[in-house]
Structures are given as structure tokens and as C-alpha cells.
Amino acid sequence: MKISRMLLVGSVSALLTALPQASMAAPAETVKIGAIFSVTGPASFLGAPEEKTVRMLADQINARGGVNGRRIQVIIKDSGGSPEKAVSFAKQLIEEDKVLAIIGPSTSGETMQIKALCEENQMILVSCAAAESIVNPVAKYVFKTPQKDSQAVTWIYRTMKAQGITKIAVLTGNDGFGAAGKKQLEDLAKTEGIEIVANEVYDKAATDLTDILTKVKGTPGVQAVVNWSIVPAQSIVAKNMRQIGLNVPLFQSHGFGNLKYVQQAGAAAEGTLFPAGRLLVVDELPDTHPQKQLLATYKKDYETLYKEDVSTFGGHAYDAFMIVIEALRRAEKPDRAAVRDAIENLKGFVGTAGIFNFSPTDHTGLDLDAFEMLTVKGGRFVLYKK
């Protein structure tokens, strides 16, 4: 009796564990990859190009016969920038869709909400958000593709020192990106010999910043303004500064990497300095540059298909998706642990943000070289030359 019951339990559980494997190896041979992007909502300028990029890439890969003969199916969820929705979509992708890996979310706040969830469920997460805390401390299954905030700050501070600037005003938006940037700007100021004389946080929905900039103007000794946000306020800062006659250099974060902001700010954006990946200045790169061909192809494909300018944000999704695809190709089977190991062992992988060298202690895989200092000239992004 007991033995037969044990047998029954055993065979049922064997059947249950066998089932998902059986469905994975179904004749269709489809590999599901989940993605959580804020396609709409306040962070839509991140999520919308990310979603478009991933759809385009998946179509391209499937048109070429998939990965090792397996079709790629992308399941994209629109979180609208809400961490709560990101959590429920992550659960859905893990429990119902049983995807191989999750790409995204678009924002740091959302990513931090699902970091532990993915780690517990041994779900590969390749985030498109920048905050340092996503990969520090390292979680075994969590990676990210944008350059680190600290690297962006280091670039900004070093450019300032080269220009002889030591006293600055720091403006940040009151969202996850702004808060993370504020911390890095404050932490690194001392080591880089920069003094922050004015430090203000504004509402991420702010439509007019002349009062804050008036305060900056009234603060003696300000030699430059650093603005750190991912919202339309990036254009508003530039305009308001010129309008109230605050004529010091304006530095922005790598969140400025979207030509739309330059167009919004018009002539006021001229001369704005910011660190960014090379996607925005691909035409200026020498043909021998290792990223040149990849960047040029991505830019051409994206702009032909969607009739809009490519942005570095879509590039982060490009990198996240292609890293998973490359790891899947190397692992040769859609086995999560094997694919994860393959990601961690990727070396010299050329992406849009830079050349990735992952290791068990570095889940970003990019160094300072991934950035260039860019500026705005004639309504376009160009390399900044001293």
C-alpha cells in the first residue's frame, strides 16, 4: 500500500517535472524571451525605442533561421514605468510563460523591485537601466547593459577639471535615476576635487525651472551646472538657463542621449556637454573602430524601419537582447543555468554601449572607455574635442 502510494507520487512528480521539458523540446523549437519595458508612461522615451529595437532584432534573427535552429519568441510587457506592474509582469513571465530570460525593465526603480525576485527564481535578468545598485552587490542571475552612473560622473568631472571648473551647481530630478546620479555626483566630488556649491532636487514633472536656476544664479562662484534626469526637464533646464541669462556651461547625464531633447531645447542646447556611448556619433568613428560596423548597421536598420532617430536607450535593449542571444548560441540549449554561465563568460562582446567583458564580479562588463564626451553643435551630437 505504502509502496504503491510512493510509486504513484513518484511517477506523478516525475511526470510533472518531465512536462515542461517536453514542451520546451516541442517540434516548434521556440525559445521564449520575456521583456518588461515602460513603453508608455513617464519613462516611455526609454521603453518605446527599447521595445521597437527588440521587435526588430527578433524578426531579423528569426528571418535568418533563429538561434541554433530555434525560433525566438519575444513576450513584451508594458509596465508604464510602474514598479508594481513590473513585479507582477516579472511573476507572470517566470511562472506562466516560463521564459528563458527577462530583458529590462527600462528604469532603475523597476529593476530594483524585481532583482531579488529574479534571483530567487533563478531567472536571468538583463536590465536596461543604469543604476549601480543593480549589479552591486552582484546577484548571480542579474546583469545590466548601460554604462555605470559613476563612470558618467567621472567623465563629467574630468572634463570640468580640464576646463578649470571646480565649483558647480547640481540639479537632479526626483526619480530613481536622478537620486542615483545625485549620490554619485556627491560621492565622487571630493575625490575628483570638485565643490558642489548648490544642490537642488526638482519634481520630475516640473515644467518650469527658472526659480531653481535663479537660485543657482544667485549663488556666488558657480562655474557650471550639472543636470541629472531622464525627463523633459533636460530641455527645460537648457532653455531656462539661457532665458534668465545664466551663461555657464551645462553638463547633462548620459540620459541626454536622445536627439529629441536637443530639438526641444533648440538653440539653447548648443554646447551642452554629456557623456554617452558611441552610437550617437557613429559617423565620426574611424572605420577601424571595433564598434563602427555594428553601430552603423543598427542605426540604419532602426531608422529605416521606424523613421525616427536612434537613441542610446534602444541601444541598451539591443545589447541586453543580443547578449542573451549570444549566450544562448554558446550554451547550445535553452537551459537557464548554462545560458547564465555563458553570459558571465562573455569576453570582448561588441555591443552598442561598448565592448562587454563580463566576469563573476562584474555584471556590467563595461569600463570607462565605453563613454565618449559629446557636445551639441548645429543641432547634432558631435564628439567633444578640447
Binding site: 513603453v39 508608455t40 508612461g41 513617464p42 516611455s44 522615451f45 518605446a48 526626483n174 537642488e200 532636487v201 526638482y202 519634481d203 514633472a205 515644467t207 518650469d208 527658472t210 526659480d211 531653481i212 535663479t214 537660485k215 544664479k217 544667485g218 523633459p232 530641455s235 527645460i236 537648457a238 532653455k239 539661457r242 532665458q243 534668465i244 541669462g245 529629441k260 526641444q264 531645447a265 533648440g266 538653440a267 539653447a268 542646447a269 548648443e270
Partner: protein, 298 residues
């Protein structure tokens, strides 16, 4: 920069913001007076005004025609909302109607998201450009600020003349003061209500156009404006469009000067703290009449 011109700079920044809040607050007041409803979709009229004008400019229309077209279109939207929702739902309680306005504001936002997209856009500067600034006693402002102030002033003046010195305007005020008596005097109350919606939508649309170069326009810009405008309307005293101007300017200037003393993150706190204080001391607003609401919530 000396402290005098710095103060002037803060004041100008406050007046700019405040005049935008004032226009939204006037819109609240017009509809509230005529219908007793607080229309929380007021901010969406501003958003629609900017969006439609930007699209018309992209179609190649000259700026002035685009603005006029946008104001007309938003005005039509306002009429349509009144005719299709509020006229039919008049027998519901005022609270229901207020909740309906919140629902409508969400619907309008979603429609805007689908008709246009999530991107931020803006009208060109009416005169000058992004970098032009006018010097004024040591302070500097964008020429567009003068457009904002000028159009708000013109609108307020016209509205004042309309409400005080025309038959239609008087009829509208009569509706607000005593609907039963107005009806007995032969005033078509439902039409007056439609007119109130049309006027406040047109006002919102115009505001959306003149502020677009400064604040940029996107589908989510309406809701925060509605909240600030509502605060301004309450502070000034509900039911009095001219009090709304005072309320709006006060909220704007308070916000601007709060920044000079406190970290900028607290400027909403400062504005709303003053609002609460004002309401404790004068529950009917600065210029409102006590018991004014009782008449309208018949």
C-alpha cells in the same frame, strides 16, 4: 547679481507660473459657477490645446491660425463633453459628476497618447527663440513669458467685460447665483452650462498654446496643472473667476520664493501649506463669499 534683481527674477518666475495656474483656475470657476461641478479634466484642455496647435503647425499652418484652430477645436471638445455627459447626467449628484470628470481626464489622456504618442513636443516661440532673453532691471526673461502674461491679462479682461457688461454674461452669472430664479426669468440654463464648458475649454486651449514653447507639451502634462489650478481656485475662493487670478498668482509666487529659502524639493509643500492655512482661516477662500456653495448645490 544683487538681491533686488534676484528678488525680481524670482517674482517674474512666480508670476509666469502663477498666470498659468490662474488660467486653469478660471476654467474651474466658470464651470463650477454654472454647474456646481469641479471639472478635473480642466488640465486636459490645456494639454489638448498645445497638442492640436503643434500638429496644425506641422501641417504647415501659420502659427496664428494654428493657435486659433487649436482653441476652436478644444472649445468644441468642451461643448461635446457637456452635451454628451453632463447634460445627460444632470440628475446625478454633484459628487458623481466630479468623479466623472476625473474619469474623463484619464480617457482624454489615453486618447491623446494614442492619437499622438508619448513624445514631448512644443510650439515654436511666438517671437524670438530659445536663447533670446529680455533684460528687465537686472532680471532676464524669455519673450514668451510676455506672451503668456499678455494673453492671460487679455483673457481676464475680456472675461470680465463679458460677465459684467453683456446680456449673455449676466445670464451666466444669474445661473450661478440662483438657477431657479434664472430659469423663471427665461434663461436657458442647459445652454448656459454648455457655454461655460465651451469658454473654459477655449481658455485652457489658449493657455496650452502660449505655454507650450516654455513648458513643452506632452500627453501627461494636464493632471499636475489641474491640481495646481484647483489649489489656486480654492485659495482665491470658488465661484469668482477674478479671485482665481489672485489665487493663481499667489500660488505661483509662493512657489518661486519658497525655492529661494528652502530646497527646491519642498516648493509644493510650501504652496500647499499656505493653501491649508488660508483654508483654516478663511474656509471660503480669500475672496469667496461664505455659504456661496450652498446656493449652487441645490
Amino acid at each position: 547679481m544683487d538681491s533686488g534683481s534676484l528678488a525680481l527674477q524670482y517674482l517674474l518666475s512666480g508670476i509666469t507660473k502663477g498666470s498659468i495656474y490662474a488660467v486653469v483656475a478660471i476654467g474651474f470657476n466658470l464651470i463650477y459657477s454654472a454647474t456646481g461641478v469641479l471639472n478635473f479634466a480642466q488640465g486636459e484642455f490645456v494639454m489638448l490645446g498645445g497638442m492640436i496647435a503643434v500638429s496644425l503647425v506641422q501641417l504647415g499652418l501659420p502659427l496664428s491660425l494654428a493657435v486659433a484652430g487649436a482653441v476652436g477645436a478644444v472649445c468644441a471638445v468642451g461643448c461635446l463633453l457637456e452635451l454628451s455627459f453632463f447634460r445627460r447626467l444632470r440628475h446625478h449628484s454633484v459628487l458623481h459628476m466630479i468623479i466623472i470628470t476625473i474619469g474623463l481626464s484619464i480617457v482624454i489622456q489615453e486618447v491623446a497618447l494614442h492619437v499622438w504618442d508619448e513624445k514631448v513636443r512644443s510650439l515654436p516661440y511666438f517671437s524670438g527663440s530659445e536663447v533670446s532673453s529680455i533684460k528687465l532691471l537686472g532680471a532676464a526673461i524669455s519673450p514668451q513669458v510676455l506672451w503668456v502674461l499678455g494673453s492671460v491679462a487679455a483673457v481676464v479682461l475680456l472675461l470680465h467685460v463679458f460677465l459684467r457688461h453683456t446680456l449673455k454674461g449676466r445670464a451666466m452669472r444669474a445661473c450661478a447665483a440662483n438657477p431657479e430664479a434664472a430659469m423663471l426669468a427665461g434663461i436657458n440654463i442647459p445652454n448656459m452650462r454648455t457655454l461655460a464648458f465651451a469658454l473654459s475649454a477655449a481658455l485652457g486651449g489658449l493657455a496650452g498654446c502660449v505655454i507650450s514653447p516654455i513648458t513643452l507639451t506632452h500627453y501627461e502634462m494636464g493632471a499636475p496643472l489641474a491640481i495646481k489650478g484647483f489649489a489656486a481656485a480654492i485659495l482665491g475662493g470658488l465661484g469668482n473667476p477674478m479671485a482665481a487670478v489672485l489665487g493663481g498668482l499667489l500660488v505661483g509666487v509662493l512657489e518661486a520664493f519658497a525655492v529661494s529659502l528652502l530646497p527646491a524639493a519642498y516648493n509644493d509643500v510650501a504652496a500647499f501649506a499656505v493653501l491649508l492655512l488660508a483654508l483654516f482661516l478663511r474656509p471660503h477662500g480669500l475672496l469667496g463669499r461664505p455659504g456661496g456653495e450652498a446656493v449652487r448645490e441645490h
